[in-house]
């Protein structure tokens, strides 16, 4: 009997020194769905993943993963999960094949079967040509693919991916997304953390936004966007002198107060009837002969969601990438 929720957590708390890494987090991820844990650096995403994968014990709270209690039966949990940590932790001094075989053997899959499984995954992830190459000679994208393949060796029920695309170029990121979408199609439950809003938007059924160890919002992306408000008319007049008149037009047409970003000459105002409001604005602009640099209907992005919920834009992506580089195994220095 498959549990309805592949991941269920109640009141997870974890303190490191003076800071609450997690300050009471509840999660319920239905089997076969994708949960995106979204938040800036230091929000508590990695701590949540470490607890749910048995690497750290919560100070308070409890959780079940794949139907087994983390505290009572961690070994049963480990047999049913796959974890791709933030830095691809595949072994740099082993070949791709050796890495997958070792993981299979440590999952106690018979050696012959583990070999067959390794070959199969190398093929699926388009790494057959790099089968016998040492991972230290892999590119970042190849390393990530192998890392993901390694998490799939034992056919996990629940997959944990901690910032799976941090440090990847856009092409490699797209490739990985497509792989993940296929996995979801095959029924695997995935919990992924990300600071890329686009990633959560594209992959996750439910997005859980966390900041300072607390869940500050949850829902699918359209629900989250609704929290910020619906469509907006966006107008950027060509000349700064026209800004007050532009604001007046938008507020009159849409009947709501406008948000003005003066340095960017950017005016936005929420609207209920997008296209006709836009038409009315265009007429007014023409009548008053205001030159326009940009005008359109704007869907709020998850960036806007984040700004509204936390009062600051998510940051820190750059440092994340830097750390990745620094933590390359020293073997690479040879």
């Amino acid at each position: 009997m498959a549990p309805a929720n592949a991941i269920e957590a109640h009141g997870l708390r974890k303190r490191y020194g003076d800071t609450d890494a997690l300050a009471g987090v509840d999660l319920a991820v239905p089997a076969g769905s994708v949960c995106g844990l979204l938040g800036p650096n230091g929000a508590g995403k990695t701590t949540a993943v470490r607890i749910l994968t048995t690497l750290a014990n919560p100070d308070q709270g409890s959780a079940c993963v794949a139907g087994f209690d983390l505290a009572a039966e961690p070994m049963e949990v480990r047999r049913r999960i796959g974890l791709a940590a933030q830095d691809a932790t595949v072994d740099a001094l082993l070949s791709g094949f050796e890495n997958l075989l070792m993981i299979g053997e440590l999952h106690h899959i018979p050696r012959r079967t583990a070999k067959a499984r390794a070959e199969e995954l190398l093929e699926q992830f388009n790494l057959e040509d790099a089968r016998d190459k040492l991972v230290r000679d892999y590119s970042g994208g190849m390393r990530r693919r192998l890392d993901l393949a390694a998490t799939l060796v034992a056919g996990p029920e629940v997959l944990f991916l901690d910032e799976p695309t941090t440090g990847l170029d856009p092409r490699a990121r797209n490739e990985l997304w497509e792989v993940l979408e296929t996995l979801v199609g095959a029924g695997t439950t995935i919990l992924l953390t990300t600071q890329y809003l686009e990633e959560a938007d594209r992959l996750a059924d439910e997005i859980v936004v966390i900041d300072h160890g607390r869940v500050i919002a949850r829902g699918d992306s359209s629900q989250l966007k609704r929290q910020v408000g619906g469509e907006q008319v966006l107008l950027v007049p060509a000349r700064a002198d026209d800004l007050p008149r532009a604001v007046a037009i938008l507020e009159r047409v849409c009947g709501a107060p406008a948000t003005v970003d003066a340095p960017a000459r950017r005016v936005t105002v929420p609207t209920d009837d997008g296209v006709s409001a836009l038409g009315a604005v265009v007429d007014e602009l023409r009548t008053q002969s205001i030159a326009v640099e940009d005008l359109g209907l704007h869907q709020p992005t998850l960036d806007d969601v984040f700004l509204t919920l936390t009062g600051s834009a998510p940051t820190g992506e750059e440092t994340g990438v830097e750390q990745d580089r620094e933590r390359e195994p020293e073997a690479a220095a040879r």
Partner: protein, 286 residues
């Protein structure tokens, strides 16, 4: 799109999780094999077990050897070998395992292992046994190198066997020192520093290269009770090579080098192993 779609269910039938059973010994062997592959692929890290002892044999046999007198007028090259064997085992036994554990912690391998359904003891056990196997390499290389420069085993087969057995036993003890160091320090670089600043000199303040009687005051007492000295002297006894010997006034450690070495090995294991295991588990938790 260059990544083929992973299909499900997996074409290779891997069976449900509850059907898979392992054993701690098999897990240890898998991690041991990984450790051995690591060594083979990082010859520069293996230098402490290959290049270094051979260099020391040649350096001391031909460069310093002429200036060092062996008590009783024995052949210095024969005196030297026991010392270099001891030094290499003390240093190599602790160093390699410390580096391996620190590196695994730093690059995330430890976390990957801990999220797998493997035996809890396998990571430590694998590192330890890989490094114990590694010790055989310098023992072989040094023996060959020694034979080339004129060293001979002048006793019987059993004595020789006992000599090599004693080396392996002491290496086992030193591995726990290495686990302790590797669990306390945060990076392989730090391990490197500590090993060269702390362990390496200890192998010199002993009868490794010169008879301890030639050392001044405190250093002499330290050398006489340093297990590196007693290990070196035990080997000289067991291999039938010249050694400083023990006059009537010599400390107990010099008069009974083999017993003292066995006692030291046991003491090191008794003290370091529990500390190391606790420290190791704390270093990887949370």
């Amino acid at each position: 799109m260059s990544v083929a779609a992973p299909t499900a269910p997996a074409p290779t039938e891997i069976g449900p999780a509850e059907s898979r059973h392992g054993s701690a010994l098999r897990d240890i062997w898998v991690v041991t094999r990984r450790g051995l592959l690591h060594m083979r692929r990082q010859p520069e890290v293996l230098a402490d077990a290959t290049f270094q002892p051979v260099m020391f044999v040649l350096l001391f046999a031909y460069v310093f050897g002429g200036a060092i007198a062996v008590p009783g007028g024995g052949n210095y090259k024969e005196f030297l070998m026991g010392g270099i064997f001891a030094q290499t085992i003390v240093f190599g036994g602790s160093f390699g395992v410390a580096i391996g554990i620190a590196a695994d912690r730093k690059n995330g391998a430890m976390d990957r292992f801990r999220a797998l359904p493997m035996a809890r003891s396998a990571v430590l056990g694998g590192h330890a046994s890989a490094n114990l196997l590694k010790i055989l390499l310098p023992m072989l290389l040094m023996s060959i190198c020694g034979l080339i420069v004129g060293w001979r085993i002048r006793t019987g087969f059993l004595d020789a066997l006992a000599g090599y057995g004693l080396l392996i036993l002491f290496a086992f003890a030193m591995i726990w020192v290495g686990v302790l160091i590797g669990s306390m320090l945060s990076s392989p670089e730090a391990v490197q520093g500590v090993a060269f600043v702390a362990i390496f000199p200890l192998t010199f303040i002993a009868s490794t290269f010169v008879p301890s009687a030639t050392l001044p005051g405190v250093l002499r007492t330290f050398a006489e009770w340093n297990p590196v000295s007693s290990l070196a002297d035990s080997l000289r006894v067991l291999f039938g090579n010249p050694h400083a010997g023990a006059g009537p006034g010599a400390p107990w450690s010099l008069q009974h080098p083999i017993t003292y070495t066995l006692l030291c090995s046991a003491a090191i294991v008794a003290v370091c192993a529990p500390l190391a295991i606790r420290r190791f588990h704390r270093s990887i938790a949370d």
